[in-house]
């Protein structure tokens, strides 16, 4: 049993200069066989393992991660959480996640710094206005909090926005989801890892999957850089590398992996206390607790696994940011990085069984997977444990690309694909 984190443990450990904290998770060598193995130790993978152990009593499981946990897209996103998606299926999926976020720090005994500071989406032309009003109505029919704001209300909610009518793309209005916000992305991975480890899950880092062994139509195990691991159930949560793992198993996915960039500025005093996103000009910005502006750019249009993107994408985003927030004109950017996102043709994820028995995929989150981390893990764990999807992820199956029953969320995905 792990010691609970509390104000008392903080004080106690202060006396030993914080040098004797118990390790949050072990560093085990892989066993010969597991009941299930999760490929990918990001937030989604660790959450999957956590809920498999907690809700489905599967304790003899492992998470294999080729690098270190949370070192991929979990640590590279812009930490935005919201559930204001258009279609019923997506509303169910993302709001399920948002509801778990609201109690996650308490559940994990780990402060994920979830902050419901609101997310505002701006409209810059008449079609944006119509689309955002429609989405607001759809959200409210699905029980998701959403309000439509006039230009004056946008200005009141976030005074530093330039709402002058003579800018290139004037702000005509916007939507606001107050329950939305941000969280500390690393803490989500670490909190789930600590929770899963406590229930007996083996978290194996620096262990890259090299092959998937099949016996006819069923999986038998994984070839890894730490040897062969036997298992009848493999849950792949490998984000940008999902197609690479799928190729090992001999199946194809409807994914393209592309670089998505983000950047942060030098830290400054509090200036923006919400998250503002704009689809049309492609700029979104929030401020971290350290004071840095956190800015998300768009994807490049070519397939790449290089974790770097094009300079002109960053330039375009910063142009838009400067037009919307003239106050940032002399801010200096500190860091810029890229992550590889797995994009589905309909901008919705895949949480699904495959034609191979015991092989499950949770992928296709594209540019917006972080917000869904707890819900995605919960529903993927259900799918793996019961060998059938939960009703909330039934629509997000792989077969939708054959049936044509797509969940088109290009409008709500916020980052233009």
């Amino acid at each position: 049993m792990k010691k609970k984190y509390s104000i008392f443990s903080l004080i106690k450990n202060a006396f030993s200069y914080h040098e004797n904290w118990e390790k949050a998770w072990k560093d085990p060598t892989p066993k010969k066989e597991y009941d299930a193995v999760i490929v990918g130790g990001g937030g989604h993978g660790l959450a999957t393992a956590y809920y498999l152990a907690k809700k489905h009593n599967m304790k003899n499981i492992a998470v294999v991660e080729k690098g270190w946990i949370g070192g991929g897209n979990t640590g590279r996103n812009t930490t935005i959480i919201r559930s204001n998606y258009l279609w019923d299926a997506s509303a169910g999926l993302y709001d399920h996640a948002l509801k778990i976020w609201e109690g996650l720090s308490q559940e994990l005994n780990y402060n994920v710094m979830f902050s419901q500071r609101g997310v505002m989406n701006l409209a810059h032309n008449l079609q944006d206005v119509r689309d955002l009003k429609r989405r607001t109505h759809a959200n409210r029919l699905n029980g998701i909090d959403a309000v439509y704001l006039s230009t004056e209300e946008v200005k009141k909610f976030c005074p530093i926005i330039n709402t002058s009518p003579d800018i290139r793309y004037p702000v005509l209005g916007g939507t606001l989801q107050r329950r939305a916000g941000t969280a500390r992305h690393d803490a989500v991975a670490w909190g789930y890892a600590r929770g899963a480890d406590e229930m007996g899950v083996d978290i194996i880092q620096n262990c890259e999957v090299k092959g998937i062994k099949r016996n006819g139509d069923a999986v038998e195990g994984l070839e890894t850089t730490k040897g062969f691991i036997k298992t009848k159930k493999i849950g792949v949560v490998a984000a940008g590398h999902s197609s690479v793992i799928a190729n090992m198993a001999g199946i194809r996915l409807p994914l393209e992996s592309k670089p998505l960039q983000a950047l942060v500025s030098e830290p400054v005093k509090p200036i923006i206390d919400t998250v503002v996103m704009s689809n049309a000009v492609h700029a979104y910005v929030s401020q971290s607790d350290k004071g840095e502006l956190v800015i998300g750019a768009g994807t490049d249009d070519y397939v790449s696994y290089s974790q770097k993107g094009s300079h002109d994408i960053v330039e375009g985003t910063l142009n838009a940011i400067l037009e919307l927030y003239p106050i940032f004109s002399r801010m200096r950017m500190l860091r810029q990085w890229g992550g590889i996102v797995d994009i589905c043709p309909d901008a919705s994820p895949i949480i699904s069984k495959t034609m191979i028995k015991g092989l499950y995929f949770n992928c296709g989150w594209g540019t917006g997977g972080f917000k869904a981390t707890p819900g995605s893990g919960d529903l993927f764990a259900h799918t793996i444990a019961n060998d059938e999807p939960h009703k909330l992820n039934a629509a997000f199956n792989l077969n939708r690309f054959v049936s044509g029953d797509l969940v088109d969320e290009h409008g709500a995905a916020a980052v233009a694909h």
């Binding site: 197609s243 194809r252 996915l253 409807p254 070519y302 397939v303 696994y305 290089s306 094009s310 002109d312």
Partner: protein
């Protein structure tokens, strides 16, 4: 960002080009006879290779012509560029 050698215009910045995805996906000759599975393969399923990929590009802000490229997607190194209709080079 990288420099692309357009087969018609020569070396230009990559920002002048538009990527067109995986190359050599042939349009079905008898669309009416395709099953749903075959349509899904044609429309949606992609190799999405980490490594040597054959792909289409368009010189959108230049000559506006389409051409093919062989590129290593793990490090964005361009291996070959060839015109539409030409035999894909082996690299």
């Amino acid at each position: 960002m990288f420099v692309i050698s357009c087969p018609y215009c020569g070396e230009r910045e990559q920002s002048e080009f538009k990527a067109g995805g995986e190359a050599h996906i042939e349009r079905p000759k008898q669309p009416t006879e395709l099953s749903d599975d075959e349509w899904a393969e044609y429309l949606f399923m992609r190799k999405n290779i980490k490594g040597i990929q054959y792909e289409r590009w368009n010189h959108a802000h230049g000559c506006r012509k389409w051409f093919n490229m062989v590129r290593d997607t793990s490090n964005d190194e361009i291996k070959a560029v060839y015109k539409m209709g030409e035999k894909p080079p082996s690299v």
